[in-house]
């Protein structure tokens, strides 16, 4: 891996629930992403992937408690909470949200919304900012002449492009994309993914793609982490995850995805994800796992390093535990 730009160390996030109790949404996530890398964070609903990147952005609600470190070029952006996170937000690290329509203000022109973060962070003002906004629009494939249009005059794909332009306003080093194509058609999805890939190559931008859609990540990202029940089940190069999965969840998730030719068997995973509002003593995947054995229910697996940055949190990779069985 090239030089590290972002690393997350032992991140935990708890939410106080309105009716009492605590939801342990993220239970010790550690990962690092290199400069210019396209990294995927994959998982199903409720696995904690969105919470993880909201924590990285420092955008958690008041009922959240966080521990761990988020290092952006070596500096802990979470150390002082909102106070230390804000100067980096949008300047060093920015985000594209799932529904572009919700991220855009319907009564402001696209141009004004791209300019806003630049002026907020003193990045550029006035004519300079507007000039840059036009350049950004062109960069994402929209004509400069559309600066004074309103979001409702844009199609879904163009809105998502505009949202990306907004995210790039202050030349961030890291772009977090949370399900950026979920509401879009396949053709538009391909366009947006192509755009993200191009931006990452042309600008040396680090892109973290958060999605439930494995094939998307497989095609776009170099490396990925598969998240389940608040922990990273497996992290590694995309190729290794597909061809040599070392966590049963990764393997089973891949086989639950239908391939476009309709040839291979599609198998769903039995059971449902664990509830995170009560302690899980062992591996969170144990109740659904087809290869669970004796220690899985009681012993929490730690990430075991395999090779080439390939890691899996599964006791099957621990020779000391598997020998007996």
């Amino acid at each position: 891996m090239s030089e590290r730009i972002l690393s997350v160390e032992d991140l935990h996030v708890w939410f106080d629930l309105p009716r009492g109790g605590v939801l342990h949404a993220v239970q010790g996530v550690s990962l690092s992403v290199g400069r210019g890398e396209r990294f995927g964070l994959v998982g199903e609903s409720g696995c904690g992937k969105s919470t993880t990147i909201l924590a990285v952005m420092g955008l958690l609600p008041p009922n959240a408690t966080v521990s761990g470190r988020v290092l952006l070029e070596g500096e802990d952006v979470l150390a002082e909470g909102e106070h230390s996170a804000r100067p980096h937000r949008w300047v060093d690290i920015s985000m594209v949200f799932q529904g572009a329509m919700n991220a855009l203000n319907p009564v402001q022109t696209i141009g004004a919304q791209i300019v806003e973060p630049m002026e907020l962070h003193g990045y550029a003002t006035g004519v300079g900012a507007r000039e840059r906004a036009g350049t950004l629009l062109e960069l994402v494939g929209i004509g400069r002449d559309r600066l004074d249009r309103f979001p409702h005059e844009f199609s879904g794909g163009m809105r998502q492009r505009a949202a990306i332009a907004m995210a790039l306003a202050c030349e961030p080093k890291v772009l977090l994309a949370d399900e950026p194509t979920t509401a879009l058609d396949v053709m538009v999805q391909a366009q947006i993914l192509g755009l993200l890939e191009r931006l990452s190559k042309e600008l040396g931008l680090t892109v973290i793609l958060v999605t439930h859609d494995l094939p998307l990540v497989a095609q776009v990202c170099h490396r990925a982490a598969v998240m389940y029940g608040g922990i990273l089940a497996e992290t590694g190069p995309m190729d290794a995850l597909y061809h040599d999965p070392r966590h049963p969840y990764t393997r089973m998730l891949f086989s639950a995805v239908p391939d476009p030719t309709g040839e291979s068997d599609v198998v769903s995973i039995p059971g449902a994800p664990p509830r995170l509002d009560r302690p899980i003593p062992g591996c969170p995947f144990e109740p659904r796992c087809d290869r669970a054995f004796e220690p899985c229910a009681s012993l929490r697996p730690n990430p075991i390093s395999l090779m080439d940055g390939h890691e899996a949190s599964c006791h099957l990779n621990d020779p000391a535990l598997t020998e007996g069985s």
């Binding site: 199903e44 776009v220 597909y242 998730l253 391939d259 030719t261 769903s268």
Partner: protein
Amino acid sequence: MSTDSDALVLEVHDLVVRYPIPRGLTGTLARRPRQQVHAVEGVSFTLRRGEILALVGESGCGKTTTAQAVLRLVDADAGSISLQGQDISRTPRGRLRGVRRRVQIIYQDPYESLDPRFTVRRAVEEPMKIHKIGGDEPERRERVAAALARVGLEPPDLFLDRYPHELSGGQRQRVAVAASLVLEPELLVADEPVSMLDVSVRAGVLELFDALRRSGLAILMITHDLSTAAHYANRIAVMYLGRIVEEGPAKEVVNDPQHPYTKALMSVIPDADPRKHRTAQILTGETPNPVSVPPGCRFHPRCPVVASGHARATGIEERCRGEDLGLTERLPGHSAACHLAAGT
């Protein structure tokens, strides 16, 4: 599958649905011409017992409107919709009760389609009460339990008194299916039935549809996902701008697409294997506006065959730009609406 006419459950012929666009006050005052959305423009297909037909296409292609017309939730402007030989497209709204029982819909969002205050038992019982079938209380209970068992919610006792918020997405979708099955419908319309579900449980729900199909139900599945259609449908109909542009056996359509639009769609589906890189044929722009449908082949402004000059080279460009066309059979049971496909 026998081809006798009893097996024919649904026959849609030349269906047309148009929505008027509200002009607003200024528009009316300025006497601006009334515009229409040409949501469905001459769609024909058939569906037999024990068959799943997938209507595939991007948003705005008319697949959902077609389904709503079959359900008589919107009115057809022209064409016919025959349910077991009986044209239901003109049945007055007041007399649709019988039709409503025979055609059931499964909605996309299982989190929204069940009343949060209804227990599973009540949700599954409700359709029977509406249609005053299912006999007395104990008999209805039995039917509810049987329907739950049939959709894989076993043992039923465990689920009867649950509320929707206590169930997972897949389980809720199964409850919705059970509530449809108690009416013993002939046709099930499934509108993106798994797109809101987690990847890991989708296959289970889709296999339920497959099992229902094998037991003789006809299923019209609306989806944007060609991979899902390829796995679980018998036939696929690809829609573009209110028309079916290609129709045929599911595996054949995805592995040997005849229409350039289907080819392009296939090329942009990402593969889970990072080593399999298709050269994505990304069509420029988005689906054009169904208010002003282009003349000629409605796909020609985005068609790679036209754009690459291949159409000109084969001498069909003229026709692509000027001549509208319907489906022609290319391979047995597999047809496409393309001048290139038709010409060779």
